[in-house]
Amino acid sequence: MALDLILLIIIVICAFAAVQMRDLLSAALVLGACSLIMAVIWTRLNAVDVAFTEASVGAGITTVLMIAALSRTRRGEEGGEERDMGWVHDGAANKRFIFRHIAMLIVVLVTMGVLIYGTMDMPDFGDPDAPAHTHVARRYIEKSREETGVKNFVTAVLVSYRGYDTLGETTVIFTAGIAVVLLLRKQRR
C-alpha cells in the first residue's frame, strides 16, 4: 500500500513538473519518466499487457515522437517570459489581470468539485460487489482458460473476447503511424 502511495505521489509530482517546465524537451523527458512509473502501477494492478503498452508507447515511442516534433519546430515556449509579468503599473490592466485569474480559479474549482462529486458514488477499490465484477467478470475468471487457452485474463479479454475492438484499435494506430511517417519523412526539394 505504501509503495502504491509513493508511486502515485511521484506521478503527481511529474505531472506538475511537466506543466511548469518552460523547456519543452525537458517536459517531454519528464513525461517519459511519468510513463515508466505508470507502467509500474499497472504491473502492481496485475495488468501486465497494459503496463507493457504503457512502457513501450508512453516512455519509448511518445518521447521519440515529441523530440522529432521539437526538431521540426522550436524548443522554447512562446512568450514564456512575459506570461509571468502580469502586474504592471496600470490600474485597468491590473483589474483585468485579477479578474482573469479569479475567473480561471473559479472554473478550475468548479470542475474539480464536479469531478470529485462524480467519484463519490463509485464503489471502493477492490470491492467484490462492484458492478464491474458482478456481470461478465466471473465468466472470464472461470472459463477464459478453457475457452481461449490464454493464461492471463486481461490478455484473454483484450485479444479474444474483445478481439474486434482490439482490431479496430490496431487500425487506428496503424493509420496514425502512416500519418506520422508521412509528416516526418524527408522533404524533397
Binding site: I6, I13, L25, S26, L29, V30, R44, G60
Partner: protein, 84 residues
C-alpha cells in the same frame, strides 16, 4: 522483505525525481530519467517476487531493453539537431 525493498526503491525514485526537476542542464535530466528507468526495472522484478510470479523477470528484462530508446533519440537530436 520485498515490500520494504520496493518502498526503498520507490523512495530512491523520488530522490532522482528531484534531479529531473531541478537538473540545471538537459543532460542531467536525461541521465536522471535513465536512472528512473533502471529503478523501474528493479521495481518490476521486486513486484514479480512480491506476487510470487517470477516470470515478471522477463518483463523487467524487456523494459531494460526499451529503456534507452528515448535516450538514443535525445542524443541524436542533440548531436545532429534532427532525428531523420
Amino acid at each position: 522483505m520485498f515490500d520494504v525493498a520496493g518502498i526503498v526503491v520507490a523512495l530512491a525514485v523520488l530522490l532522482v525525481i528531484y534531479r529531473v526537476i531541478k537538473g540545471p542542464r538537459i543532460c542531467d535530466r536525461v541521465l536522471a530519467v535513465n536512472a528512473i528507468g533502471t529503478k523501474t526495472v528493479v521495481l518490476l522484478a521486486l513486484i514479480g517476487f512480491m506476487y510470487e510470479r517470477p516470470q515478471f523477470l522477463d518483463i523487467a528484462l524487456v523494459y531494460a531493453l526499451i529503456n534507452f530508446i528515448a535516450t538514443i533519440a535525445f542524443l541524436k537530436y542533440r548531436e545532429m539537431g534532427r532525428l531523420d
